[in-house]
C-alpha cells in the first residue's frame, strides 16, 4: 500500500501536532482507542506517515510495528498524501457490470497514474473503491465530495476539466 508512490517530505505543523495530542488525550483510556485515534489523525494530516505513527506510538505506549500493522491492514488508511482532488471510482458489482472497469482504465490513461497514485503536480490522485451504495446511479465516481453518476467513458475528460 502506497509503496509504489513517491513519498513527499513530511511537513506537519505545530498546530496539527497539538490537535493530534489533544485527540490522543481524549481517547487514550477508551477501550479499543487505537482505531478512532488513527482515523482522527488521518483527518488532521490527510495521511498517516511514519512521523505521525511515531507520535501515536510514543503517546499511547504501543509499539510502532503494531500501529504500522494496523495502518497497512485497512484500505482507508494511507501512507502517502492524496492529491488536491481525489478521484475515486466505484468498482462494486453493480457499477462493474455497467462498465466501471472501462471508466477506471480510461482515467488511468487520462491522469497517467495507476491505482493509489497521485499526479506529479499533486493535483489528482486516483483510487478504486468498493461500493459506495449509490448503485441506482451506476457507474459512479467521486471527486472529493462530489458524486458523478450514470457515467460513460466520454464524460470523463469533461469532469476532470472542471477541476483544472
Amino acid at each position: 500500500m502506497g509503496s509504489q508512490n513517491k513519498t513527499v517530505p513530511f511537513a506537519g505543523t505545530k498546530e496539527q501536532e497539538a490537535a493530534l495530542l489533544k485527540v490522543i488525550a481524549e481517547h487514550k483510556d477508551d477501550k479499543g482507542a487505537l482505531m478512532p485515534i488513527l482515523q482522527k489523525a488521518q483527518g488532521i494530516y490527510g495521511y498517516l506517515p511514519v512521523e505521525v505513527q511515531t507520535i501515536i506510538s510514543n503517546e499511547m505506549n504501543v509499539p510502532l510495528e503494531k500501529i504500522y500493522g494496523i495502518v497497512t491492514f485497512y484500505s482507508q488508511f494511507s501512507l502517502s498524501p492524496k492529491g488536491k482532488y481525489n478521484v475515486s471510482v466505484c468498482l462494486g458489482t453493480a457499477c462493474y457490470v455497467k462498465g466501471s472497469g472501462d471508466i477506471f482504465n480510461k482515467l488511468q490513461d487520462l491522469l497517467g497514474v495507476t491505482d493509489g497514485g497521485c499526479t506529479t503536480d499533486g493535483k489528482f490522485s486516483l483510487e478504486s473503491c468498493r461500493c459506495i451504495g449509490a448503485c441506482g446511479l451506476a457507474p459512479v465516481l467521486t471527486v472529493n465530495e462530489d458524486v458523478y453518476g450514470k457515467l460513460s467513458v466520454d464524460d470523463l475528460e469533461g469532469i476532470l476539466t472542471k477541476y483544472e
Binding site: 479499543g32 494496523i70 488508511f77 468498482l91 468498493r130 451504495g133 449509490a134 441506482g136
Partner: protein, 595 residues
C-alpha cells in the same frame, strides 16, 4: 399543523443526484410564495426507487415526483402547492393510467412489497426522534422492560423464526439464548453495519432512514442477554448514516431511552459508534470484534464462539442492521404475526438491493418465498434495452450466479444454498447477455484476493491461485485440465479456510462452472468470449460494405494497426491490434464490430 408535507429523499442515492439543493430551493420558493406556515419540507430516508432520484413526494395526496431537478421546483411550488394542480410531466410514469392517476402502492414496484424493516424509510424524518416515537417507536422497548422477563423476550424471537439477515441465516433467538446462558460481569451487544458486499445497501438505507429502530432493538437485545453496552460498527464510507446515527444516539440519551434506568426500570444501556476503515473481512463476526478492540481485523478461530468469548473476551452477540430492524415489530405484533409470512424455514421478509442490468434499481422488501421472476420482471421492471437475462447474482463475493432455469424458485435461505448461491446480505445484481460469466468470476476473485486478510494459507494463497487460473482462461491460454484443477482447488479452499470469507470465496467460481460451463469451454477450447468482454479473445473487424474510407479510425488507432486508402474499405492488422476499441468508438458508420 401544516396542510401539506413535502418529503424529499435524503438517502445516499438521491443526495448524490442533488437532493440537498432541491430542499434548499423548495424552502426558498415556499417562503417566496408565503406558504411557510402551511407547508413543511421533510428530509426522509430512502424510498427505494433510487433509479428515479431525486424523489419528491407531496402529502396528503401522495404525489410522487421522479427525477426532479432544481429548475422544476418553482413550478412544483406554484402549481402544486399554491394552486393544487399536479405537475403531470414530473410524475412517476407508472402512476399515470388511462383513467387518471393511481396510487403509489398500486404501482408494480411497490404493490408486491411488504415493508417491515423499511417501514419508516422514506416516511419519517430520521433526524427527529419524535417522528419515530409517533410511529410506535420505543414502544417495544417499553413493553419488554415493563411486561417481559429476558427469557420471554428470547422466546418471542425464537418463536418468530427470525434468522440473521447478514447472510448466514443463523436463528437470532438462539444466538441470544446462548449469550444469555453465559454468566459474566460484562456482556456486549454489537451491530454489524459494515456492509461490505458490493452492490448491497439496505443496511445503509435503514441507518439513514430509520436509525432509532436499530438503537431500540439493540437495547431490547441488551435487556434479553444482560448487556449494558452496545457498539455499532459502521463503514466509514457511509457518512450520512454515521451522522444520523450520532444524532439519533444523542436524542435517545436526551429522552432517557439510552443511559441509566431506562423507562424507570433498573436497566442501563448505552451505545457507541465505531467506524470501519475499509476492510471487507471485518464483516466477519470475530474479525469485526478484533477490529473494535483496536487491532488488525483478522478473524479468530471458533470455538470459543462470541456468545462465550467475544468482544474484549466477554460474551457478545452480533446482529446485522436489518435483523435488528425487525425486532421491535416482532415484539409489538407478536411472533405469530412474523412467522405467518415467508416459507417453512425462512420467516418474514427480506430486503434486496436490485442493481445491475435492471430498470428499477433500488431497494425492495419482499416476503420470503417470492420468486426471482416476480422480483426481476415485475418489481424490477425487467431488463433495459430489450436484452436477454443471463443471471442474477446474490450473496456478493460469497454467493453465486443464478441462471434463468431457476427463475421460479422461491427465494429463501435454503433454496438459494441448494442452487449454489446464498442469501448474503441481499445484493441482487442482474446480468444480461453482454456480461461474461468467466469475467464475473474473475472480478469476484480479484475482490477476495484483495480483501483476504492473509492469516490463513488456504485463503491467502488459494484465492490468488484461483485468480491466476481465471486470468489464464480469460487470456485464452486455459486448458480443460485447468478447469478440473480449478474445481478441486475450490473445494480445498472451502474445506480448509479459517473464516467465512475464505470458505465462501470459491462460490462465484463453482456456481458459474456449474451453470455456465459452456462459457468456460468456449474460452478454453474455441478461444472465444461469447459475450465479447474478454479483450484477449476479441478481434475487431471492419465491415467492408459499411466502411466509407473516411480514415478516421486509422488516425485514432494508437498502434497504427489500421491501414487503407481514402474512400476505400480499411483493414485492421490483427497482429498489431491492441484491442483498445478506440476505432469502434469513433467510427461514424458503425462499420467496426468486435467478435
Amino acid at each position: 399543523m401544516y396542510r401539506s408535507h413535502v418529503l424529499v429523499c435524503g438517502g445516499t442515492g438521491c443526495t448524490s443526484s442533488g437532493s440537498a439543493k432541491i430542499i434548499e430551493s423548495l424552502q426558498s420558493e415556499i417562503k417566496k410564495n408565503g406558504l411557510k406556515e402551511e407547508v413543511a419540507v421533510v428530509q426522509t430516508g430512502c424510498h427505494g426507487l433510487c433509479a428515479l432520484g431525486p424523489i419528491v413526494i407531496i402529502y396528503p395526496e401522495a404525489t410522487f415526483y421522479a427525477m426532479v431537478k432544481e429548475e422544476d421546483i418553482p413550478e412544483i411550488v406554484s402549481e402544486h402547492l399554491l394552486k393544487g394542480r399536479i405537475v403531470t410531466r414530473l410524475l412517476y410514469k407508472e402512476m399515470i393510467t388511462e383513467d387518471g392517476i393511481k396510487s403509489l402502492n398500486e404501482t408494480e414496484f411497490y404493490k408486491k412489497q411488504h415493508r417491515i424493516a423499511l417501514r419508516n424509510c422514506g416516511v419519517i424524518n430520521p433526524e427527529n426522534i419524535d417522528e419515530y416515537i409517533g410511529t410506535n417507536g420505543y414502544e417495544a422497548l417499553g413493553k419488554v422492560l415493563t411486561e417481559y422477563t429476558p427469557d420471554q423476550v428470547i422466546q418471542s424471537i425464537l418463536d418468530s423464526g427470525l434468522r440473521g439477515r447478514g447472510g448466514g441465516g443463523f436463528p437470532t433467538g438462539l444466538k441470544w439464548k446462548l449469550a444469555k446462558g453465559n454468566d459474566a460481569d460484562q456482556k456486549y451487544v454489537c451491530c454489524n453495519a459494515d456492509e461490505g458486499d458490493p452492490g448491497a445497501f439496505m443496511d445503509r438505507s435503514v441507518l439513514e432512514g430509520d436509525p432509532h429502530v436499530v438503537l431500540e432493538a439493540m437495547a431490547i437485545a441488551g435487556y434479553a442477554i444482560g448487556a449494558t453496552q452496545g457498539y455499532i460498527y459502521v463503514r466509514a464510507e457511509y457518512p450520512i448514516a454515521v451522522e444520523r446515527l450520532k444524532i439519533a444516539i444523542g436524542q435517545a440519551r436526551e429522552y432517557g431511552l439510552l443511559g441509566k434506568n431506562i423507562f424507570g426500570s433498573d436497566f442501563d444501556f448505552d451505545v457507541d459508534i465505531r467506524l470501519g476503515a475499509g476492510a471487507f473481512v471485518c464483516g466477519e463476526e470475530t474479525a469485526l470484534m478484533t477490529s473494535i478492540e483496536g487491532n488488525r481485523g483478522e478473524p479468530r478461530p471458533r470455538p470459543p464462539f462470541p456468545a462465550q468469548k467475544g468482544l474484549f473476551q466477554k460474551p457478545t452477540i452480533l446482529n446485522n442492521v436489518e435483523t435488528y430492524a425487525n425486532i421491535p415489530q416482532i415484539i409489538l405484533n407478536g411472533p405469530e404475526w412474523f412467522a405467518s409470512m415467508g416459507t417453512e424455514k425462512s420467516k418474514g421478509t427480506k430486503v434486496f438491493a436490485l442493481g445491475g442490468k435492471i430498470n428499477n434499481t433500488g431497494l425492495v422488501e419482499i416476503p420470503m418465498g417470492t420468486s426471482l421472476r416476480t422480483v426481476i420482471d415485475e418489481i424490477g421492471g425487467g431488463i433495459p434495452n430489450g436484452k436477454k437475462f443471463k443471471a442474477a447474482q446474490t450473496g456478493g463475493p460469497s454467493g453465486g450466479c443464478i441462471p434463468a432455469e431457476h427463475f421460479d424458485i422461491p427465494i429463501d435461505y435454503d433454496n438459494l444454498i441448494s442452487i449454489g448461491s446464498m442469501m448474503g446480505s441481499g445484493g441482487l445484481i442482474v446480468m444480461d447477455e453482454d456480461n461474461c460469466m468467466v469475467d464475473i468470476a474473475k472480478f469476484f476473485l480479484e475482490f477476495t484476493v484483495d480483501e483476504s486478510c492473509g492469516k490463513c494459507t488456504p485463503c491467502r494463497i488459494g484465492t490468488k491461485r484461483l485468480h491466476e487460473m481465471l486470468e489464464k482462461i480469460t487470456n485464452g491460454q486455459g486448458t480443460m485440465e485447468d478447469l478440473k484443477k480449478m474445481e478441486d482447488l475450490c473445494y480445498y479452499i472451502k474445506d480448509n479456510a479459517l473464516c467465512g470469507l475464505g470458505q465462501t470465496a470459491p462460490n462465484p467460481v463453482l456456481s458459474t462452472l456449474r451453470f455456465f460451463r459452456d462459457e468456460y469451454v468456449a474460452h478454453v477450447v474455441d478461444k472465444k468470449c461469447p459475450s465479447g468482454v474478454c479483450k484477449a479473445l476479441l478481434s475487431y473487424v471492419i465491415d467492408a460494405d459499411k466502411c466509407k474510407g473516411c480514415t478516421l479510425c486509422s488516425r485514432v488507432c494508437p498502434n497504427s494497426a489500421i491501414t487503407g486508402k481514402v474512400k476505400e474499405a480499411h483493414i485492421i492488422d490483427q497482429s498489431k491490434c491492441i484491442k483498445c476499441g478506440a476505432c469502434m468508438e469513433k467510427c461514424k458508420f458503425g462499420a467496426i464490430s468486435k467478435k
